[in-house]
Amino acid sequence: MRFLYPSLFLVWAPLVLVPIVLYLFRPRPRTVRTSTLPFFKWLAREHQDSAWLRWLKHLLSLLLSILVVLGAAAALARLVVAPSAESLRTVVVLVDRSASMAAGPEEGRTRLQEAVSLVEHRLAGLSAGVGVIVMAYDRRPEVLLSRSLDRRQVRRALASIRVRPIEGKPAEAIELARRLAALETPASIWHATDATDEARTSNSQSSTDGDEGAAIGGEESHVRDSSAAVVVEHLGVAMPRPRNVGITAFRLRRRPMERGTFEAFVQVHCVADEPVPATLDIAVDGTLVAPRKLTLRPGGRERLLIPVEAAADADRVLSLQLSVEGDVLPLDDVVHARVPRLRPVQVLWISESPDPFTELALSSLGIEGDLEVLQGPPSAWPPKDAVDVVVFDHWAPPEWPTDVPVIGVDPPGPLGPVRAVRIGSGGLPLENLRAPSRDHPVLYGVATGRVAVTQTAVVEAGGPLESLWIGPQGPLLLAGEIRGQRIVVMAFSPQHSEQLPLMASYPLLIGNAIYWAAAHELESAQGMNRRTGELVKLEGKHLIWQDSRGRDAAEGTVALQGGAAELDRIGPWRTDAGQSGSASLLSVRDTLIPARPQDASAGDDEQAESPLQGDLAPLLLWGVLALLVVESWLYHRYVAY
């Protein structure tokens, strides 16, 4: 316990002599002789006391006055209780500003406000010579204030912290905080977050290196870095019994073989003590389409598939809104996604002698209008206009394209980065192919067990390519992504295969391969449904955020710098260059809001007593006010005494 400004106390404390002098030399009331005392006594009937009681009251009044003066002087001199800050030189304040910190309000305050308040309370007890660094993090850490001795700047920096609807990743932030703290030791990192010890441990490997010390304040724990003399103190602000339901996963994909229809995969998580009824409102372009009633188990998750019709003329905005009574975090209750307009996938098929079965398969796929197949000889390569997927049928270009997905059928030799050797004498007939990855999208609906093919090339497996069909001579169907380019290799000849060409599996295989390979291009061209916090490359000068009806939001225009932007809001967006997309939280970590551990109850008790730590000025001022009220009540509620 000490004064931040002891000189102020020395200046103001002597004022205590004033009530003492006033008490000693208090004016005696004039004596008036009266013949009507009973009437005066009737006025003062409620306060007829004896001389010793009156003396006691005078003494009590003097005591209260002294306490008022001393309390006010101590408040002006900033009396603080700071048990552990004496030996520090640097304190790094690391505040979690991820989405879950908006949970609440509990007692009218969000977790972030609680964290800032807790930090400010501890800061008040910090010696004036301790430098303070203020950091905040969500997916990425940010240094808001470099090392400063000016507490007003620190408070301003703390006050500037706002919750961002972005998933929190404390590991990198703690690591950065460690590095900053290590610049001037001994140092302490005050990590204010709602994450539990378990979550922090899983997120912060570096925190487990040291020895754990005793807790100070509320739910706090110390982790000491012995090499750098940096102590990490976790200031927990978790809610005791959070109740939250949120959407933690969302994916929009085309329904196979159903033109113009998408399928939204939605995953909902629940944190509660009892089953929670919820309503999921599904809206397209702001118009409610279908509400769904859900009953979520505590700690459980629910997965849904929602069909969505696309439009031919424009993108549509799909909005999902969860409604749950008592939900503490609204940020994870809403998801916006752009449903791309109907546009055929453009496929360029290069072949010296077109395989009739492949032609049949591609033409059957193009009947629905989902595919637009352009067929040409090798001389047509490279194409004048950009296409979504290129199919090299028994041919490979001398210069391998790297900016377009490629499907290589019956490769004549190496296919760019994929090494392949041709098998002579018409190939090798194979039956009973092995499919180690049956769930791969390329094999969706394909009856692998009934297929018999003639392998025409041996392809080197390994690396980023995944073997989907494996024969005795090695893999003959591979798919993977090499330096951002999706490649599917079919090392067999459909024309010479016995069972494959006339089966439905072949068009399915070709179609799956085309859609899988073109997924990135389709998404980037027709809408990017991303998570908040992601950095996306954008064209144009401005990023414009929109509402669920696709209208530009007020104050929603952000200037693009460096051709990229961080998606820091929830909702659909567009650029003035024609790009569009959406951003949603979709974070299991932030939706599963941790509850304050049961064993932290003792810490809670300490936290309840924490007003006696840190800056006692507000407490003292309230105490002075209470003393004044008590004195008024004791001595001035009646006219007589």
């Binding site: 009331p29 004596t31 008036v32 009266t34 013949s35 005392l37 005066f40 009737w42 007829q48 007589a640």
Partner: protein, 304 residues
């Protein structure tokens, strides 16, 4: 003796006595105008004095015919008598400390009223007894009759000492007016007992007196509306009890209201029991107030 003479001069100077005489003549003139004549009610203790004769007219009481005159003049005349009533006037004066301290004007006023009433009664040939009350009842004079006692009366009143506590209930309980004559009782007091409630309890004794009772409530204006502000240490003049009080305008208003309530209660109490209640503050003009007192139906005003 010299001191007593000075006090007598101070209280009842020649001017005051002159005012009393003129007051008496005023009353007699008023009485002549309001004379009731021969139809006064005969009663024990009455004296009937012959006044005149008048011719008999049919219907007159034939018992009043003067037969001796009829024998001489052979004409019937009836005798006219004047009825003279004699009262025993009891004057009870409060001599407690509150009657002199802190406002000695109350003492002066009470003594002057006492003397005036006694003077009027003596001049009207009534018997006069003066008693004083404080913590007990005390007889100050034996029953007096005739103008010759005026100077004795003045001397006694000048020597009357004020002080001590008030025991209204006990004092009035001790007072027992005789039933041999019609009586009149004048109680001159500020009626301040140990509490405002004791005043009405004390006056309850007056309902048993066989006499016409008048209560003259002597007050000082500052007792009704004190001029006190701020923190004050109040000292009771009778009991020496001390109380501290912080007086504000609001409290002054409450005090005035409470005091007025006290007077209203007394007035209501007296009116119900056919007791004349007459508040008299020391700032009122003596003659006018005294005439008002007598004009309130007092038998004293109708005799002499």
């Amino acid at each position: 003796m010299g001191n007593s003479h000075n006090q007598t001069e101070e209280l009842f100077d020649a001017k005051f006595l002159g005012r009393l005489r003129s007051l008496f003549f005023k009353l007699r003139k008023r009485r002549q105008l309001q004379r009731r004549g021969q139809h006064s009610t005969p009663a024990a203790g009455f004296t009937r004095e012959f006044k005149d004769h008048r011719s008999y007219t049919p219907g007159d009481d034939f018992r009043t015919i003067d037969w001796r005159l009829f024998a001489r003049l052979e004409k019937p005349f009836i005798r006219i008598f004047e009825e003279v009533q004699e009262f025993h006037v009891h004057i009870l004066i409060d001599r407690s400390g509150s009657m002199v301290d802190p406002y000695p004007q109350k003492r002066t006023m009470a003594l002057r009223v006492t003397v005036a009433l006694a003077y009027l009664a003596l001049l009207s040939q009534h018997r006069v007894s003066i008693l004083s009350l404080a913590d007990e009842l005390r007889r100050e004079t034996q029953p007096m009759k005739g103008q010759g006692h005026v100077h004795f009366l003045l001397k006694q009143m000048a020597e009357l000492e004020f002080g001590g506590t008030t025991d209204l209930i006990g004092s009035l309980r001790q007072f027992r007016p005789g039933r041999d004559r019609r009586g009149m009782v004048f109680l001159i007091s500020d009626l301040f007992g140990r509490s405002p409630e004791t005043s009405t309890e004390a006056l309850l004794q007056a309902t048993g007196w066989p006499a016409e009772t008048h209560v003259i409530h002597v007050l000082h204006p500052r007792e009704k509306e004190p001029d006190l502000q701020g923190e004050i240490r109040l000292l009771d003049v009778e009991t020496a009890e001390i109380r501290r009080i912080w007086m504000t305008k609001r409290e002054l208003a409450r005090y005035a209201k409470a005091f007025q309530q006290f007077m209203d209660d007394l007035h209501r109490f007296c009116m119900r029991r056919q007791i004349d209640y007459f508040p008299w503050t020391t700032d009122q003009l003596f003659e006018d107030t005294f005439l008002d007192l007598l004009s309130r139906g007092s038998a004293l005003a109708g005799t002499g």
